[in-house]
């Protein structure tokens, strides 16, 4: 069951409208699905056009407040050590954090899916080699690898480099998260492909005459899409989590304050020791909400799209 291809065979895209409505009803009927969608929707709205809500991103130059002021009516979230409005920073942070998360997720999912499908489908030595590779990345945590890769890649491509308007430091984080998180996705997709392969031999009639690429595209892919979607959402949660951590450690870009970067600034300014809770709470709560909502949504999606027999909830 799912958005595409209920039967083994070419994915059928007709009847998608009705299925989509049915799917939406089932997803929103669950408490975790509903909460996830609501919170996600809220932050997506903020992320799409933050300037609409709070005006352009405040910089050192355009800071108007007195440093480290607790919340007042003019500054509902208070100010940071440079006098910038924290409400402004937090809302803009939504865009930056989620954008980074999105890009990193894309890279992770693409690499993970390709590796998983190829490994599962081709099998043999290729499968072995790919799995050893993914084992290596599974054992070593993303953060540890990132700490090593980031400065080196940054050094190599130079700090002034830009790609699609995104500055180097940010780019590096995206690439590093993507390069190091694909292993889980690859494994999950690979086992799905393996079980699909078993069923395929039963459905051989359809498959005779098709080349492997064609089979992978028309037969396997539609049946893995559901899994990929659920994995993507869960990966997004991890990506935001990881980016926040990396930015906090200092690998972020001070000029593009994601929530992690704001927290980094807070730590450098000694906010915890000074009791400046307003500096910490908004970005912290935002991160937790987004990660939580993506986790809930991911689990809900996983259950709705990939029902496992004998589920007891």
């Amino acid at each position: 069951m799912g958005l595409a291809g209920t039967e083994l065979g070419a994915g059928r895209w007709s009847g998608t409208g009705r299925r989509a409505r049915d799917f939406a009803a089932r997803l929103l009927g669950r408490s975790d699905g509903l909460v996830g969608v609501v919170i996600l929707g809220f932050f997506t709205l903020l992320a799409l056009s933050p300037s609409l809500f709070v005006g352009p991103l405040q910089t050192v130059l355009s800071a108007t407040g007195t440093p480290l002021e607790p919340p007042t009516s003019t500054y509902p979230f208070g100010t940071d050590e440079l006098g910038r409005d924290l409400l402004n920073l937090t809302v803009h942070g939504a865009r930056i954090s989620m954008l980074i998360g999105l890009m990193a997720t894309l890279i992770t999912i693409v690499i993970g899916s390709v590796v998983g499908i190829v490994a599962g489908f081709v099998g043999g030595a290729v499968d072995n080699a790919l799995m050893r590779l993914s084992d290596f990345f599974l054992v070593l945590p993303t953060i540890v690898l990132a700490l090593i890769l980031a400065p080196i890649i940054l050094d190599v491509i130079g700090p002034q480099a830009e790609f699609l308007g995104i500055r180097a430091t940010l780019l590096v984080i995206v690439i590093v998260i993507g390069l190091t998180s694909w292993a889980t996705t690859a494994r999950i997709i690979r086992s799905q492909v393996l079980s699909l392969k078993e069923r395929m031999f039963v459905d051989r009639a359809r498959v005779i005459g098709s080349g492997p690429g064609r089979i992978m595209r028309r037969h396997i892919l539609p049946n893995v899409v559901n899994l990929i979607v659920a994995q993507a959402v869960l990966t997004f949660a991890t990506a935001v989590f990881t980016e926040t951590t990396l930015a906090f450690i200092g690998l972020g870009d001070p000029a593009a304050p994601s929530w992690g970067q704001i927290l980094n600034n807070a730590q450098s300014a000694g906010a915890p020791g000074l009791g400046a809770w307003w500096y910490i709470v908004p970005p912290a709560v935002s991160v937790v909400l987004v990660v939580l909502s993506f986790t809930l949504l991911g689990n809900a999606l996983d259950d709705v799209l990939n029902p496992k027999t004998g589920q007891r909830r």
């Binding site: 290596f136 080196i152 450690i249 200092g250 915890p272 000074l274 910490i280």
Partner: protein, 321 residues
């Protein structure tokens, strides 16, 4: 669990370590600008630098000379000299910082495992209800919080606010007796330990709860009920040992993230361990030090996974090979 199993897992661990060393090599020698990165050190005399370069064969081709030299020096513990720490050998610097980190993570992980598994088992075994759902919600929230997000509010409330605990560091300066020194460290340890433990308990509790729920529907639990055994005993002797098995694997996989999280916790609390060292190394672009830290952490994670494999083999009699 046979000797073959142990050996096989050990061999896999060694292979991974070799891969890590090779990765190190690729990163620090093969990347453009590497040799300079490795030896540009204002604290060492030029003659010394030249000698080092000669020792590492930096004027020779990458393969095989540099590779061999690299592997050789790594194996003997010569990881170069730190830039930030004024030419101290990397190995020394790293080892000094390892102690506090082990203390923090070790205790945190141990506490989190004990508490998390127990909570998860109780929650999963019970009949559901309000307590279970509240507990589950809390676990989910803590699971979504990075350690520093937990840590910062702790400082604000308990250190800056209530002044129960110091705001940072591991020790306060000054001479102390042994007992006083231990108490001092303990005082400093409370908040960071709480942060690390809370961050982990959430994850373990949720995972264990899930595992117990899966185990509950197994046939041998019905057999145990039919035997007339009391509920508590069924949980302890039948459900828990079986539910524990997937947890061992999950805890092992999680180890990497624990390490990563510890880094952030150390930053928040100014805890003088590997995490703080890493940040300092990053700031100063101290590549030899970074390389040393990476190597240590990575190798530790690999062997922790190996230990987890052994524990799993011991717990599950179905593991043969």
């Amino acid at each position: 669990m046979t000797a073959r199993y142990i050996l096989r897992k050990f061999a896999q661990a060694i292979v991974t370590v070799i891969a890590i060393v090779l990765l190190n090599f690729v990163l620090f020698r093969m990347m453009p600008g590497s040799p300079e990165r490795a030896t540009k050190n204002p604290h060492l005399t030029p003659e010394f630098v030249a000698a080092e370069r000669a020792k590492w064969g930096l004027d020779k081709p990458l393969f095989p000379n540099q590779l061999v030299a690299f592997i050789g020096s790594t194996a003997t513990g010569d990881l170069g000299y730190s830039i930030k720490y004024r030419g101290q050998p990397v190995t020394e610097v790293v080892m000094n910082a390892a102690g506090p980190t082990v203390l923090l993570i070790g205790l945190g992980e141990a506490l989190a495992i004990v508490v998390g598994l127990w909570l998860g088992a109780r929650s999963g075994w019970g009949r559901g209800g309000a307590m279970d759902r509240i507990g589950n919600a809390f676990s989910l929230i803590f699971y979504s919080m990075p350690y520093f997000v937990i840590g910062m509010p702790l400082i604000i409330i308990f250190a800056a606010g209530l002044h129960w605990f110091p705001t940072s560091g591991m020790t306060t300066p000054g001479d102390k007796t042994v007992v006083a020194a231990i108490v001092d460290i303990a005082r400093h340890l409370v908040l960071p330990l709480t942060a690390v433990t809370l961050g982990l308990v959430g994850a373990y509790s949720i995972l264990m709860r899930s595992s117990i729920i899966d185990t509950r529907s197994e046939d041998y639990i019905t057999t145990a009920r039919a035997k007339g055994l009391p509920n508590g005993r069924i949980l302890r002797s039948h459900a828990f040992p079986n539910a524990l098995l997937p947890m061992v694997t999950l805890i092992a996989i999680n180890l990497g993230y624990v390490v990563a999280g510890a880094i952030t916790a150390e930053i928040v609390f100014n805890w003088p361990g590997l995490g703080l060292l890493t940040v300092q190394a990053l700031d100063a672009r101290d590549y030899p030090l970074l390389q040393g830290i990476f190597l240590l952490i990575a190798v530790c994670v690999v062997f922790a996974n190996f230990a987890a494999d052994i524990v799993y083999g011991y717990l599950d009699p179905r593991v043969r090979f």
